[in-house]
Symmetry: C2
Subunit: 153 residues, 2 copies
């Protein structure tokens, strides 16, 4: 389905505007899809992203600030996401002994287990994407170019 059909809009002022809106729209479709994928596992999309970051550290504890840096969403509120994960026993927070301002976050065995289950679901889902490698590369380049000269990192 084209963007015009979807938005029931006849036309856009410029091709750039159409592409711009298409990025925003496509992302919302992808986000919704992922959110629904994670729901049966009791995880939100962002909670999943935090767990992924924690697993990526292979046991090395991670600070809240580092999680914040790595999150896809700019200025995401890692502190409250960790709250939720702790409630579910998927992550643990400890005060860092060297710097008592910092927190040391680690993923639990339980957290690793949930991620493992999700890995399969994700792979299955990503196989739905119809782009060739060349197309994916081109899309990637165009998005990088679109972001150029946009002021907010």
């Amino acid at each position: 389905m084209t963007l015009e059909e979807q938005l029931k809009q006849k036309e856009f002022k410029t091709k750039r505007q159409r592409a711009y809106l298409n990025v925003v729209y496509t992302a919302s479709v992808l986000n919704l899809e992922q959110t629904r994928l994670f729901k049966p596992f009791g995880l939100s999309l962002q909670q999943y992203n935090v767990l992924r970051i924690l697993r990526g550290q292979n046991g090395t504890p991670v600070s809240i600030g580092l999680i914040q840096e790595r999150m896809l969403d700019i200025q995401s509120n890692a502190s409250r996401l960790i709250d939720k994960l702790e409630d579910k026993k998927l992550a643990i927070r400890k005060v860092c002994p060297n710097d008592k301002r910092q927190m040391e976050i680690t993923i639990t065995q339980e957290g690793l287990k949930v991620l493992l289950e999700l890995d399969e679901v994700i792979v299955l889902n990503e196989s739905n994407i119809q782009l060739t490698d060349g197309e994916a590369d081109m899309l990637n380049d165009l998005l990088n170019k679109l972001r150029t000269n946009q002021k907010n990192k």
Copy 2:
């Protein structure tokens, strides 16, 4: 800046995955940028989108359901967005006489005035986009293709 630099991630499993994440990331950058653009005018991004839809009707009242259909964000909660616009005297809600379930929403003079101010800001902002027409078309096509076979409209 490339996605890898931004996310401080060495590599992605597949080119498709990189493109997928880039769409989500780019959209969040664009959304944040627009949100900041509208903030000085006391409008959120979604409130602005609703006002645009109302203006597009040239005075013909619009139902909540129609606004919902036209919103970029899937399943956006138009009812509460109209609440906010009514509070600010930018839109008016009336019960439709023919079908008392429906609401007839119209934009006020005040609302039109705010939109007019914003039009200039938007045009200025969109001129920052560095894509040629050809690139914008290609980006548009690739995004449409990416959405193909994704189950959620």
